[in-house]
């Protein structure tokens, strides 16, 4: 594995081999994340190209404190946010919180007990259902869900990308998971 500081120097010199390594290692991940955040194939294609262009113009500001991939996800997130018509504001209240509470007795024990998820759906139907349910997630929760659950980033890495507190990231992940669970429950993936 190349030394990160050597890689950074090579990238700053626009070294072809270093650029190729970064592009080849990250294009698919960025494309997948863009699709996960609700963009079409064409939009994801555009976004990936824009991300790398911005990456090149911002290379001198990149200090190498985070991984290159984290830096690229950060650029992608800003592009995705720019493309969203309405600015998303941090929501302090979400109706899903009450739906979650309704799962428990006053003593905090399960009222609607979880069951082993059963499904008569095929793998491709489940994939379809999941993508459909993700389309229903509010933007910030969807971003956290994609980065944490699909791209496998830690809460710390997501904090560096989205500039939210770890607590807020946790709340958004929790809400996204609950919404997904409730949505999939209505599509044949029984949860309780």
């Amino acid at each position: 594995m190349p030394d990160p500081s050597t890689t950074l120097d090579a990238l700053r010199r626009r070294d072809d081999a270093a650029l190729r390594r970064v592009v080849e290692a990250n294009t698919r991940k960025l494309y997948r994340a863009a699709r996960g955040m609700g963009h079409s194939n064409e939009e994801a294609d555009d976004l990936v190209q824009e991300v790398f262009l911005t990456f090149m113009s911002s290379l001198d500001r990149f200090e190498g404190r985070s991984a290159v991939s984290t830096w690229l996800y950060g650029i992608l997130l800003r592009k995705v946010q720019e493309r969203r018509r309405e600015a998303t504001r941090e929501r302090t209240h979400d109706p899903i919180d009450e739906a979650w509470e309704a799962n428990f007795t006053a003593d905090g024990m399960w009222l609607r007990k979880p069951v082993d998820a059963e499904s008569a759906l095929t793998a491709s139907q489940i994939g379809e259902a999941i993508r459909g349910c993700m389309d229903g997630l509010p933007a910030p929760a969807r971003d956290v869900f994609v980065l944490r659950q699909i791209e496998g980033l830690s809460a710390e890495e997501v904090r560096n990308i989205l500039h939210l507190t770890i607590t807020h990231i946790g709340v958004l992940l929790h809400r996204a998971r609950l919404r997904m669970r409730a949505c999939l429950d209505g599509k044949g993936w029984r949860t309780s």
Binding site: G36, Q49, H174
Partner: protein, 77 residues
């Protein structure tokens, strides 16, 4: 003894990963003894796996020449 609501919320937010050792141990002890919370945790793991598979399926549509197109358009100066 921690309650199901607290345990399952800690698991779902991911806060359990960074909780102090004592708290983490109380969570795992509860999960070891509570089949409902075990099922809930399993559901979240299945959801993660299924979402990842669904995303990989969608990303399979990525044109094979995209990395080359990206490389071609990058300014070298």
């Amino acid at each position: 003894m921690m309650k199901c609501r607290e345990v399952s919320t800690l698991v779902s937010t991911g806060d359990v990963e960074t909780a102090p050792l004592g708290r983490r141990m109380r969570v795992w002890l509860h999960i070891a003894m509570c089949r409902h919370c075990r099922r809930f945790r399993r559901q979240l793991e299945q959801l993660r796996q299924r979402a990842r598979a669904a995303a990989d399926e969608a990303a399979a549509a990525m044109p094979a020449d995209l990395p080359e197109r990206v490389l071609r358009q990058l300014p070298r100066e």
